[in-house]
């Protein structure tokens, strides 16, 4: 099911008389293709959960429309939209068993959709198998691990065969190892069911690793939509560039003069066809190549060995932030006590942003 958001806006009234109105979602326009896994990504408080609530129908938009396929669902209550929702803390009913939890949505069906007890049980078992918890049907939520509870929550959301599956920070309550495992699992379940899935996360790595498409947002505004690799390789603005990627992108004060990019007094790169202007220079950690004759001279701080790669931590007068982190192959050798390090830059790992608007130039 294709999901379309049209001029979607949600404003919350001020909390008290002095406070200002909060715009949680500001004029969203995008289309989510059928059957894909979409990561809605942004720092906390950026409005991603509100977006999810708008799609699920728990909140009604101030302006704009929501379509599932060609159907306008803007004014439909949540139960008539056919969405499945998985909460960050799973929101399982603590007094019901796994099976009762999964069946719960089916018991609400009315009219022609009404199911017999037998059919409901059948359906519950089927869904439980899909998420591989069919051996735990008689357990109560508190008798299960976080990962298992997560699966029950997903099963409960899937059992009605929703048109759209929504997940709010689905992995944030799991420990690191389970998180890796569960995210593969999520990917598999989504592939198996083919249901259009939107999940919210603040963890860019998580979003990039499994999404078909990511939507990066901040302060209620969509900053970029695209395939994970495309967004990483071609960030639309400084925020997106900084938000994606670990270690973070390194940002320098720079200037374009005569088709050359200057950081401080050093011309570090040729930039043919660019106007003269002051810029932010963003360089990905993997964009540095150690070179004794390289144009960028940094003061060496320390080298952190990571096995396959080494991370060179250095400083430069024009940098922003605390230090420059570059990831280079461990084949490069560094002398102990070395005072400076010089780099060459990979042009496609260097991004220039307007000093004022912070948009990519």
């Amino acid at each position: 099911m294709k999901v379309v958001l049209e001029n979607l806006t949600k404003r919350f009234p001020p909390r008290n008389k002095k406070g200002a109105e909060v715009i949680a979602v500001n004029n969203f326009n995008f289309e989510i293709p059928d059957g894909q896994l979409i990561g809605l990504l942004g720092p906390s408080g950026c409005g991603k959960s509100t977006t999810l609530n708008l799609i699920s129908g728990l909140e009604t938009p101030t302006e704009g429309k929501i379509f599932f396929g060609d159907e306008d669902v803007t004014n439909l209550p949540p139960e008539e939209r056919g969405v499945g929702l998985v909460f960050q803390n799973y929101a399982l009913y603590p007094h019901l068993t796994v099976e009762e939890n999964i069946i719960f949505p089916l018991q609400n069906l009315k009219g022609a959709q009404k199911m017999s007890k037998e059919a409901m049980h059948q359906k519950a078992v089927e869904t439980a198998k899909l998420v591989q918890i069919d051996g735990l049907m008689e357990r109560k939520p508190k008798e299960m691990s976080g990962g298992q509870q997560q699966r029950v929550a997903i099963a409960r959301a899937l059992v009605k065969v929703p048109r759209v599956l929504l997940l709010d920070e689905p992995l944030s309550n799991l420990d690191a190892r389970l998180r890796l495992q569960t995210r593969e699992e999520l990917r598999r379940i989504q592939r198996d069911t083919g249901v259009t899935t939107i999940f919210v996360t603040h963890d860019q790595e998580e979003a990039m690793s499994i999404s078909d498409l990511i939507i990066v947002m901040k302060d209620g505004v969509v900053h970029q939509i695209g395939k994970p690799q495309d967004v990483y390789d071609e960030p639309a603005n400084l925020f997106v560039a900084q938000f994606l990627g670990t270690p973070q992108i390194n940002v320098f004060h720079g200037e374009v003069k005569g088709e050359k990019l200057y950081i401080g007094d050093e011309a570090v790169l040729d930039v043919p066809g660019r106007k003269d202007m002051p810029v932010w220079v963003g360089i990905r950690p993997e964009g540095f190549i150690p070179d004794e004759n390289g144009p960028l001279t940094c003061r060496m701080d320390r080298v952190e060995v990571m096995g396959r790669d080494v991370s060179v931590v250095s400083t430069h007068p024009q940098m922003t932030g605390r230090c420059i982190r570059s990831i280079v192959s461990s084949e490069n050798k560094f002398e102990p006590g070395q005072q400076t390090v010089r780099f060459r830059l990979k042009p496609y790992k260097v991004f220039l942003f307007d000093k004022e608007s912070e948009e990519r130039v």
Binding site: L58, E79, L85, N89, A91, Y93, R156
Partner: protein, 280 residues
Amino acid sequence: MIEKKSASFSRVLIYFFLIVWALIVLFPFYWMVLTSVKSFASYNSEYIPRFFTTEPTLDNYVSAFEAVPLGRYFLNTLIFTVATTGLMMLVIIPAAFAFARLEFKGRNAVFALFLSLMMIPTELVIITNYVTIVNWNMRNTYLGLILPSVTSVFYIYLLKENFEAIPDELYQAAKVDGTSDLKYLVKVMIPICQPTVVTIIILKVIECWNSYVWPRLITYDSNYFLVSNGIQEIRENGFGRENTPAMMAAVVVISVPLIVLFLVFRKKIMAGVSRGGTKG
């Protein structure tokens, strides 16, 4: 060594003290059971009461049920207790749900009003309630007994606090699944808050079983007496000339149900009372 000696001495003192109070608490119960199994003749012949009896008899229980309609009082109290408690749950659960879960204009104002009613003592409103029930011609009816005590602001408050502790996500999950508010209340909220609901029911049952003042005002026909009024009636007019053993038999019969209830639900009752129940 001296330290140890004084420690064990104070331990003995503590136990002695605790046992004395336990005896003071238990003695009336012992005495009432003891007296109830002494025959009328032997009781009356004991100028100096004896602490035991060699010939226990259950005759007093028979005469207690025969001389006064004890069974009737029991039935009345049972009807009164079940109906009052049941009706009260039907009144307070939806109210607590509305305050805890539904959003509506004036919620805070109405809730503040409810809370302020918690300070009003029964004694102040009982006068008009009496007049109201008399005017409605409801003296000597079950309805007259029941109606004024089917709401409790305190229990609404207690339940509302409990309902609010249930995470919002559960409600949202239920909404997405198409669950109606009523079904959510019945199938999710009440089961989750079951301990509190049970506590409230138990406290209310105790209150009903022991209520005396209101039933006394409202009933003068002994067909509608509750056990408390029955006891008072027995004391003042029953059993002819001071048949104390039969009186005690009646007292035992009346006391047993609550004591059994207490022994079964000991933990729940004590936890419930310490969470804010007060007698009456």
